[in-house]
């Protein structure tokens, strides 16, 4: 069974004037079909206003579809009875690290989800310990959240979701407000979860560097899925990505330009190592 599936998903934002009359309708998500296999690392890419965050909010029933259906682990998100189960299965991490930490101490914040679910006290402690260890924040368990850096706060937020034992984590631009160091920290933690704990990850971002580890990439543009495939397939189409106003990683761009000017390089080069390997094999072949 698919862990997340959407069919013909449409979501309209309706703008109203002061009297409540409809002023205009913006279709943020436009007939999106998405299927995610359990255990996958999925990246959803798109520039600002492409509808990627709106899509994410459908995946744990914060928003309800205007048209179409969303299933999380086989449950329809419009089924009110299943609401809490859906939110437990698909946890979400938001953009702003400050506005999603509820507890006054790190460990209390991580325990917040399990407390709400009615998990027995002893098990809460076990879950808190294991989740904090999984994101490498166990030494900070007694800290006040405002004493932590942005990257550390996001890792605490991830641990908070992890303690609910979700099958799937949706991360809505978790690194957008972080510095490069914090960004690396968070992405490393997310990859570890996917590799070690086999949690399905749906990472929403506009940083290209973050998606090269994904199993599958979806590129969104004005509410529609414009491209999909493995990172390599997506990055092979540099011109199309530029059209969609997305920045291609510098190495990929360099390889693309070199290829255009006549070097016989494979397309879709993602890392510096791949490029140097390709270049040195070229040199050897000459």
């Amino acid at each position: 069974m698919k862990i997340v599936k959407t069919k013909d998903l449409v979501f309209d934002y309706i703008r109203r004037d002061e009297e409540g009359n409809v002023e205009g309708i913006t279709t943020a998500v436009d007939h999106v079909d998405l299927e995610v296999e359990p255990g996958d690392f999925i990246a959803i890419l798109g520039h600002n206003g492409s509808g990627k965050s709106t899509l994410a909010k459908h995946l744990n029933a914060i928003l309800m579809p205007t048209e179409g259906t969303v299933w999380v682990d086989g449950m329809d998100t419009e089924d009110k009875e299943k609401l809490w189960e859906i939110r437990q299965r698909a946890g979400m991490v938001f953009q702003n690290p400050d506005n999603q930490i509820i507890g006054q101490v790190v460990e209390e914040d991580v325990g917040f989800g399990p407390e709400n679910m009615g998990v027995p006290t002893k098990e809460i402690w076990e879950r808190v310990e294991e989740s904090l260890k999984a994101v490498g924040m166990y030494e900070y368990r007694k800290f006040a959240p405002n004493k932590l850096s942005g990257g550390q706060k996001q890792r605490v937020s991830i641990a908070g979701v992890l303690a609910m034992h979700p099958k799937c984590i949706v991360l809505d631009e978790p690194t957008a407000m972080l510095d490069p160091g914090g960004r690396r920290e968070v992405i490393r933690a997310v990859r570890a979860l996917n590799d070690v704990e086999r949690v399905t990850v749906i990472l929403i971002t506009h940083y290209m560097e973050e998606i090269i580890y994904a199993d599958k990439v979806f590129v969104m543009d004005s509410g529609k899925i414009a491209m999909q495939g493995t990172p390599r397939e997506v990055f092979s189409e540099v011109e199309k990505l530029k059209e969609l106003r997305l920045d291609v990683p510098k190495v990929t761009l360099l390889a693309h330009e070199l290829k255009k000017s006549g070097l016989a390089l494979p397309s879709g080069i993602l890392t510096v190592k791949e490029l140097t390997d390709a270049l040195s094999s070229q040199k050897a072949g000459r």
Partner: protein
């Protein structure tokens, strides 16, 4: 700078008093205040002072921290003292121009001053030895019966602890907005009161807007983590009474009986 302020006045150390259940400490504070109001005779005050001294000793909190709380009410203390001293009519022991001091006045003034001081010190013992969070938990659990009459006890406690969590953040935001406005030539400490109040507007408006933003984000984050009110919720750090808490209740009851007996029934005569 603004970030480093500590909330409440919790004094971090380890003592029997610190480890007591917050409900015991809440009850103790209430009972202590009652006893202060109820006693009338010098003997009661002696008992109250001795009891408080013993608790402070046990709490390992330096005495100067206790007195710190007094500073804020010093004015009130002096005012009460002076008012009582001159206003109460009775057997005149000192007269000057139109002012008279009576024996009853002195008696009352001293009593009120002692009462007020003990009251403030007594309640600071509680706030100094209990973290705000712990206190909130204690209140939630102690007031739980009120839920039967539809008082949203859990919700109130949750709101309180969330506001405590966000005070440092809002302070930081204020600091940032102030700097941003100062960079554009605003000044916050010039001119008369009216001008100062006016200069607060460009500070308060963005602060309000951003606190609504925070509230919106936070409520989404809470729902996302399956928060649905107090029902069916378990506790990570549940409160339960230990042996020391029962002992504390016994000691408290003993104190109260003793204090009322020597303070109301046994007559020692007046202080003066």
């Amino acid at each position: 700078m603004l970030k480093d302020i500590t909330l409440g006045q919790y004094y971090q150390t380890d003592s029997v008093i610190h480890r007591l259940d917050p409900r015991v400490k809440l009850a103790a504070t209430m009972l202590y205040i009652c006893s202060l109001v109820a006693v009338d005779q010098a003997g009661g005050y002696v008992a109250a002072v001795l009891f408080l001294a013993a608790v402070i000793r046990l709490s390992h909190v330096p005495f100067r921290f206790m007195v710190r709380g007094m500073r804020s009410i010093l004015f009130l203390l002096v005012l009460t003292f002076v008012m009582n001293l001159f206003m109460i009519k009775g057997e005149v022991i000192f007269a000057f121009w139109k002012l008279t001091i009576s024996r009853e006045g002195v008696d009352m003034a001293v009593k009120m001053a002692v009462r007020l001081s003990l009251l403030i010190i007594g309640s600071s013992v509680m706030t100094l030895t209990t973290t705000p969070n712990n206190l909130m938990d204690g209140m939630e659990k102690a007031l739980k019966p009120l839920q039967k009459v539809r008082v949203p006890v859990h919700e109130i406690a949750m709101m309180m602890s969330i506001s405590l969590r966000f005070i440092p953040m809002l302070l930081e935001k204020t600091d940032r907005i102030m700097k941003a406005q100062m960079a554009r030539g605003a000044s916050f400490d010039e001119g008369n009161i009216l001008k100062k109040a006016k200069s607060m507007v460009p500070l308060l408006v963005p602060l309000f807007v951003s606190s609504f933003q925070i509230a919106d984000d936070l409520s989404m984050a809470m729902e996302n983590r399956c928060y649905r009110g107090g029902e069916g919720r378990t506790k990570m750090k549940p409160l339960h009474y230990e042996k020391r808490d029962y002992i504390a209740y016994l000691v408290l009851a003993a104190y109260f009986v003793l204090c009322i007996t020597v303070g109301r029934i046994v007559r020692w005569g007046r202080i003066f």
